[in-house]
Symmetry: D2
């Protein structure tokens, strides 16, 4: 996470040890672009559903950041020539492991679009590194999920817990609001 | 299907041999209500998806009606004190059998609402028996699907085939339009 | 509001002094139907938007109910042979007056469907009188709005105020949750 | 339109004579970025609605391209530090003039996301210049619309006409499919 060492939460996916598909930028190029263009992102809210499709739990990652422990969602860039649904699958596998068995939605219509600005206060969403436009999806996962790479833990919380003030205070950049928007959309906002 | 013998396509679920949960109406009562109130319906478009969630096939039922063979979707009433998602599950099991393994959407937001009027031409949807307001969902099914009861066959068509003029002509009451709306919403309209 | 005198909040529109279009039920018939069928409803969340479409205020009605003052939304039944968009217009005119200049959404896709059950706890929504399935829409109004009939006041609150604990406590039947879902959907949930 | 002279349809907004806000790229820089990153776009489908919000006409631009006349929508890039709703307003003013009186939707949820790939066939959408991820909105316009800049004409077609084979053949890059998706979403697909 070389290029984001000083940042509160790194939703990006570049890492020195990762293979770089065609179209990936060097950290230097990415830094230049980030100051000039909005980047295309996806946010996935992983959920467990019961047999009737009702959301019973939300999967939140716990990461150690420069300011302490933070909760986060599955999130990351859409690469050049990558479909949104393939980006969702790649980031879910990266964060939850290869046997999470995600059910990527059939429709590209997101439940919302989160606009992360480098300036706080324009929208509820903030990313000091960049302007990211993130299409957000609720993704039921049916398999075994294990936190990968830099995540310390993956916790399954009830919708009520995930929307509680205590848990909401553990998010950064407005991602707690995104969880509440997701729970509102699935009819599970308290 | 006593109360619908003269009708082109019976999306209702009352049958003499069915158990009647509390709140079910007699055919006589239902006939009275149908002339005075809109009824709450659900329409489900059963689909097969690939591992990235992309729709690859649409499941269409083939039924014998008074005017010949017609294609139809999974459709039916929402009962008193029944959740929409439970109505979807009940109708999918009724039409596709008990091991279809449907993934009922996590959100109650339908992709559209089809308003079936007894008078043709007000909307694209028409039901000579009643005014039905139907919330429509795309439902991926992962298991074995077998046509039940009065359906002769269940055919899996590609989105292109399902939207073709030939297949569209085999629907009644505007249900072909609903299939096209579903394919438009999942990004598979030709 | 004869048939609902003992009830906490009457989202229905039948009144002895109202003209009855064809298909309206007598209070007695409606009482029978309410115990046997879900009714089709619409909920409208009236909002003021700025010139870029961003929601800046939510219009909440203040009504005197049997348990004191309560906040409410624009809400009511869809009548036999009435389109959803016509029901929205009718209820908005009924509650906000004839010059509210509502912008009814172009799409029938609601931001959510609120399922009001006579039994509390099945969903966040509860209506002791009936099972109502309500398609919910955010409706920008550009004109002059005046509370009509039984409403004492119409107050324009910021999204933050409308979602605050104090205001949320003034709703009944889960309608406060519906306001929060609406604000989540327009990106204005705090 | 220096950097797109050889391209079938230029949905981009860079022009030599335009003022360049901070964050705009030179044509050279944009060309480099276009080969490495997906760009954030918006598509707006301008519509006329009747007093109940029902779509009665679709506004299509007529442009002269290298291969002849083509129909197009209002479309363009989202700039660095620009909100989606401000990008929609800017592109609508650019293409339809300053008094179109657009009603930008209250919610950031698009009716679909169109993924334009430089390689044809991956999705219905194709842009030989770049990979663009475009959030698509239906935007009612109430004012006077006049084609601006490089557009020859703005024609208001009924939904049926806009979805007809003749008109569909006049679009490029899949934008005709996007119009059909929009009409499906508003309930006006034939």
């Amino acid at each position: 996470m070389t290029d984001t060492a000083e940042l509160p939460e790194p939703p990006d996916d570049w890492r020195p040890d990762n293979p770089r598909p065609a179209g990936w930028l060097t950290p230097e190029d990415l830094a230049v672009v980030r100051a000039q263009l909005p980047l295309v992102y996806v946010d996935a809210v992983p959920v467990r559903v019961d047999e009737s499709g009702d959301v019973v739990a939300v999967g939140l990652l716990l990461r150690m950041g420069p300011r302490g422990l933070t909760r986060s969602l599955v999130s990351g860039r859409v690469l050049y020539h990558e479909r949104i649904r393939d980006a969702l699958l790649r980031h879910i596998e990266k964060d939850l492991g290869p046997v999470a068995l995600p059910q990527v939605p059939a429709s590209p219509q997101p439940f919302t679009v989160a606009e992360y600005f480098p300036t706080p206060g324009i929208t509820p969403f903030h990313d000091p590194r960049q302007h990211a436009v993130s299409m957000a999806y609720v993704v039921p996962v049916g398999g075994d999920c294990r936190p990968q790479q830099d995540a310390l833990d993956l916790a399954w919380l009830t919708p009520e817990e995930a929307c509680s003030d205590v848990v909401q205070a553990e998010f950064q950049g407005g991602r707690g609001v995104l969880v509440k928007q997701a729970m509102a959309w699935v009819g599970r906002l308290a």
